[in-house]
Amino acid sequence: MIRICFIGWLFFFVSRCLAQDLPPITQQQLEDVAESNDEEPKDDHLLQQLEYYRKHPINLNTATVEELQSLRLLNDLQINNLIRYRSLLGNLISIFELQSIPGWSLVTINRVLPYIAVSNPQSSKQSFLSRFHNGDNSLLFRISRVLEKSKGYDTNLNTHYLGDRNHLAFRYRYQYKDLLYFGITADKDAGEQFFRGAQSKGFDFYSFHFFARRVGWVKSLAIGDYTVNFGQGLIQWQGLAFGKSAEAVSIKRQSPALSPYRSAGEFYFNRGVAVTIQKGRLQSTLFGSYKKISGNIISDTTEWFSSLGTSGYYRTPPEIADRNRINLTSFGGNIAYQSTSLKLGFNAVAHRFNIPLQKRNEPYNLYSISGRNIFNSSLDYSYTYKNLHFFGETAVDKNLHSATVDGVLISVDPKVDLSFLYRNIQAQYQTLFGNAATENSTTVNEKGFYSGLLIRPATGWQLNAYADFYRFPWIKYLVNAPSNGHEYLVQLNYQPDKLFAMYLRFRNKDKPTDISGTDAIYHPLDQVKQNLRVHLSRQLANRFSMNTRLELLWLNPGAGNEERGFLSYVEANYASRRLSAGLRFQYFETNSYNSRIYVYESDVLYSYSIPAFYDKGTRYYFNLHYKFTRDFVCYFRLDQTVYTSKELIGSGLDEITGNKKTEIKLQLSYLF
């Protein structure tokens, strides 16, 4: 009875407030992605999708497996159980019924509540053309600027940024449920020119997408920019991917094969046409893409390029010289069989550069992609048997080197979920857009075994833990010998009600890296990093909420190169119908860049801010979000980092003289 009251109250409360924040677990997963890639993700399709579901919640009575997967908050066991519950017992009558679905705890329900609803399915036999009328149109314009002038804007230097200091972004979007998307994205980074020079057409990056789902036989159709995700990511995965995270049993990759590309990142997408056709239990995807990519071309007796330009920065003459010089043609497809418990797929992708790729002649590049052609094929499967969900993928490249990822999710008890994942990717395996659940940032040279555990011992409590053991059979960049390491994480969450949540997290990671010493050849030594974090959030009064975090970091404790890190912040938020504001104050102190700590920050809508903090300083930011009318919203953000004992911040052309770095952002969005 008390539980029912809780849920009713939660639902009421959540639907009234304007809080824009992502669920804490998603914030943590994004932090983990930023930390493992050493940069913020650029694909904000997830943010856009969650924002859309907030306004148009998913109807659990009609939701497809893919819609539920796109939330990134439910694992396959939970989704399967919902589908089975629906087919056995009919449609859900109310949200309260969710508690009776196996695997759906109160924590799970709290997480998805802002994005779901339970209502009678509408018989929607609408025509394809009507989808063009009933959706949401939106226009978005964003400008941001770092107030301090960095070295790159000094025109006296030989190499300097040619453009102005503003980062500009523009988007037009149309979306009707998950059935029709189209729009334009335009983006210009700070330092790039605008309607001048290399960017004579205005913005540096333009993107158009048109994407339709479920038109008769056609399950998905993409024209323009789109992403392709196959299997578990061994041969092709261009979208955002969460790897090891505090949600230990979410280690499986899930996504439909095609998705529209609606972000401003300049590399991880395809440009062309793609289609997925479905007839009964068989489905097939075909895609073709032709786009220009950047890379530094070297001309000798022949011509080749030695690295792929993925940053999207074209500010200085050398960067501009590399811009969009190489043509990349990609095509591929898959055939899949899908029944309620079994999915089998055969996938293949092929890429061709017009100029061959030949990476620098270093030992760690011995097996890197070289040449003009890349080809991969794989078999992927997933199979549900009672409370076990097996999944995996095995792939080969054009030289017949292999990679495999195989795992299982087990719901051993209503209170306990387990996951295991085995991966074995040869050192010689080559893939261009592969992105699997590996410790390495690229899908190559790794053998590992991961096991995850989730326990829900009592209402409001959740314990997550994982242990990952990995080995790199060949040398890597900055690791001059085969090496192995491990990672453990334990996180205890306590959320008795929507008012209060806290978690305690400890992580221990050992990843060997070359340590410079007196030897002529550097060799890898253990690099142990331990993090301890406490995070509390509390809803106060009706409209205020606060949260606070304390994080400690120990790098190589007890060794000669020991470092420590400390970070703590306190944040207050206010949310009402029209206005929401947030203020955070943070202090951090770490020995160096090696002991940096990543933190998720709230930013303007659709923008990621997950910076890494190192050295000593304070940071604060202020967010404001004001709804002038129901359709016209304005966002403003001001953030500043003050380094207490530095005179220079950053390096190279991003170097700022002084000890402060301030950024302001203004974003306007209009819905119609």
Binding site: V412, K415, L453, F469
Partner: protein, 272 residues
């Protein structure tokens, strides 16, 4: 959940090192954490934390063998026996580790009893180290443990091995290490058990060991776990058959390889 005579044994040490020189002589990893489970105890796991004898009122015999890293000279064998009496239970355990050239053996006598929500136990061991060409050295050591029943499903306990710092050898140079363990066991249901322990062996880094056992069929179970000090993990399966319990297990160390092991235990039917 039916009330069963609860013998929660706090099993310690995945890799307890009994001496400064050699590898552990105790079956480590999985059998130890089973001590916390109300359903999964056997004679050998009970003797990792003797306090569990307090509620293990069953006549039981167990044999264990392992071949560390697949090397014959690093084989280890154990035999354990428990005898219930009206006031607590007694246990007897014998370990042998090594080969003719170098071996360790020990014989222990244990007693444990229950005091309501708390159980206590202790064990005296006669330990002998034999090295070919050097003769042998022996000593007597003691270990003691205590277990608390926090809830019907959750137990916690502490075990200390060799608190007195027993030494051996003519000049008293060799010292058996002191091993301190703190453990927690959670019986999620009669099919799933999760146990963890934090163990500190003298002069070694702290190890956090955790394991899970899942009875996927009524008589078949599987288990998996990790030990942080050695970065190793284990996987095993077992089955029950009319009072007998047979476990096959493999523990994998990232550098040194696999250790296969087997446990055969017999629990006589519980007296009601």
């Amino acid at each position: 959940m039916r009330k069963i005579s609860m013998a929660y044994i706090f099993c310690i040490a995945f890799f307890t090192t009994r001496s400064q020189i050699l590898l552990p002589d105790r079956p480590a990893v999985y059998s130890d954490i089973n001590a916390y489970s109300s359903f999964n105890k056997d004679a050998l796991s009970v003797l990792s934390n003797q306090a569990a004898l307090g509620s293990f009122k069953i006549l039981s015999v167990a044999f264990y063998g392992e071949r560390k890293f697949m090397l014959k000279d690093l084989s280890s064998y154990s035999m354990a026996f428990t005898l219930p009496t009206s006031s607590g239970s007694f246990g007897l355990v014998a370990h042998y580790f090594g080969s003719a050239g170098l071996n360790e053996s020990s014989l222990g006598l244990a007693y444990g009893r229950s005091l309501g929500k708390i159980e206590v136990g202790a064990q005296f061991n006669y330990y002998q180290l034999r090295i070919e060409g050097y003769g042998n050295a022996s000593t007597v050591s003691v270990e003691t443990g205590i277990i608390l029943h926090l809830t019907e499903q959750l137990q916690a306990g502490v075990h200390i091995f060799n608190p007195t710092g027993a030494t051996m050898g003519k000049a008293e140079q060799e010292k058996l290490p002191l091993i301190y363990s703190f453990g927690l066991g959670y019986d999620v249901s009669d099919r799933v058990y999760i146990g963890t322990e934090v163990q500190k062996v003298e002069d070694q880094p702290v190890s956090v060991n955790a394991g899970l056992q899942y009875a996927f069929e009524r008589k078949l179970f599987a288990r998996a776990g990790v030990a942080s000090a050695t970065s190793s993990f284990y996987l095993g399966v077992g089955f029950l058959w009319s009072g007998f319990r047979i476990d096959v297990n493999a523990s994998v160390h990232p550098t040194l390889g696999t250790t296969p092991s087997m446990l055969i235990a017999y629990n006589s039917p519980a007296k009601k």
